[in-house]
Symmetry: C2
Subunit: 308 residues, 2 copies
């Protein structure tokens, strides 16, 4: 699946991914109103609102971008109807030719991770039938439980041509609390990175592995080191834009081949119309504002890389 993602990135010349994290206060009032008129102020109404909002953004940007990354928590907070909107969003994005990275951060003991792997990336058996319940192309995975929590995901990657991104160094302010702790003089995140390389060898797909990793844009010095430690690992980079990561900080997340990293922006794209810079689009033009923000983000990232 990493080959497919790379193809999409090269075709669009855009090493970026749009994070579909629909906080309700991002969703324009007219969309909320329409959804509540139809379904009431219910979980179904909320789910309809975020689905309509997402569809607008996908329709306005899909020709420019290789992938989307829906954050499942933003759907799960609206319960079962919210998760139905998540599933619908994933399916629609795939229909538009986009690679879907499910930001689910799952991870458990072996048999339980196997259930997550099957539900998100693989096929589940019901009697004599098989179904792909969520069918994302990639899922993000938490490594705290070690290899036996990761291995079931790798098996499904190999069976179904899918991929995962393992959390190595996350973008949030307190990520260092555990991740930066020194073990024999090296931080824990480097220790996890070494395992990511080992796991990656089990599911190579061309020059890169189907096991990628997550390294936040907010820690560029660490990103530079981690890039070298994991030469065949694609890095999914959250934290650009709203969280503070800058394009010039990210040039070292890429390999010499121009590949190896994909930078996420969520709020900066999907709620662009709320920024002064894109206010001219207005609420009704939220999707066009997102499109312009995508154009600007690609220029920003590719510009910084050209200069480097």
């Amino acid at each position: 699946m990493i080959k497919q993602l790379i193809q999409n990135i090269e075709k669009k010349d855009a090493p970026i991914v749009v994070g579909l994290d629909p906080m309700m206060n991002y969703v324009p009032a007219f969309i909320q109103k329409q959804a509540y008129e139809q379904y009431g102020e219910t979980l179904e109404g909320a789910a309809e609102a975020i689905w309509v909002y997402n569809k607008g953004i996908i329709d306005a940007t899909y020709d420019l971008i290789p992938a989307v990354k829906p954050q499942i928590a933003m759907y799960e907070q609206f319960g079962v109807p919210g998760l139905a909107a998540y599933q619908k969003t994933c399916a629609y994005a795939k229909q538009k030719g986009l690679v879907v990275i499910g930001d689910v951060k799952r991870g458990d003991i072996g048999s339980t991770s196997a259930a997550y792997a099957v539900g998100h990336l693989g096929m589940v058996t019901v009697g004599s039938k098989q179904y792909a319940p969520f069918d994302e192309d990639f899922a993000t995975v938490n490594p705290y439980l070690g290899t036996d929590g990761i291995k079931p995901f790798i098996d499904v990657c190999n069976e179904c041509n899918k991929g995962i991104f393992v959390l190595v160094k996350t973008s949030n302010p307190s990520s260092g609390e555990f991740q930066d702790q020194l073990i024999d003089g090296k931080p824990l995140y480097e220790y996890v990175a070494k395992k990511v390389v080992e796991w990656g060898e089990m599911t190579m797909d061309g020059d890169y592995s189907n096991v990628g990793c997550v390294v936040g844009a907010t820690y560029p010095e660490m990103g530079k080191v981690l890039r070298k430690l994991m030469p065949k690992t694609y890095i999914l980079v959250p934290g650009y834009g709203a969280q503070g990561g800058k394009a010039e900080d990210l040039v070292h997340y890429f390999n010499a081949d121009g590949l190896g990293a994909i930078v996420n922006s969520s709020r900066g794209i999907i709620a662009a119309y709320k920024q002064d810079k894109y206010a001219r689009f207005g609420e009704n033009g939220y999707a066009d504002a997102s499109r312009q923000a995508v154009v600007d983000m690609i220029a920003d990232i590719n510009g910084a890389r050209a200069k480097a």
Copy 2:
């Protein structure tokens, strides 16, 4: 909420929790058949089968036990219908007076953890209305992202009288890969334990905190040390029975007050009818087999504690 859990434990004299992790191969054939006749071999059919199976077990055991711990992955693997069965199971168990520990192992950056916290333990706002989408009493949480990933859960614990169990030392074979790594001579899990104590002080509920932790039954020596490091922290103990943890190993997970630990068994209870020991109940008597296994587990744990 920990006060409520303790009340339930004392009332039933049973420091145990039944893990509702319905693997499809545990579900008796007659239940599967009936569900597939009604809904076809579909995700809805699978969801109906696991719901009927769960209901049978809850009905047969609720008077003996303080709590259940549904493992969401086992439902999530059947997609949206599976998650509806999860929600239905949680609601039914609460109706029967049981405390529900959602084994969801969520955890993310701050704003995203807030969405998980709201979806599982709190109330989500839709227009002028509020809903409690999954409404478990406790959720398990992964600490890898540090304090800002945990704090939103604590806020919801305080607002809505709920609780969490933070993964400290998990029961699986490779849990040591990262969790046992030494930081200044102390393993990472002890470092996490110290944070659990800090977090716990933010949400005390009687003598114990609403922030509990997870320590596997499979690592009794570590459990003994961790018990002393976290005197006001309830320990949720997976790994008893099928995974290899023995009652006599678990006596040190309890405090001198007789409280402080709750031991989980999943397969050992819910698939008891598949063991030679309970084969006499047959498939049709799977729920009665579960009841007998609960009786035996309580006697085993309380017996070992009496001897200690």
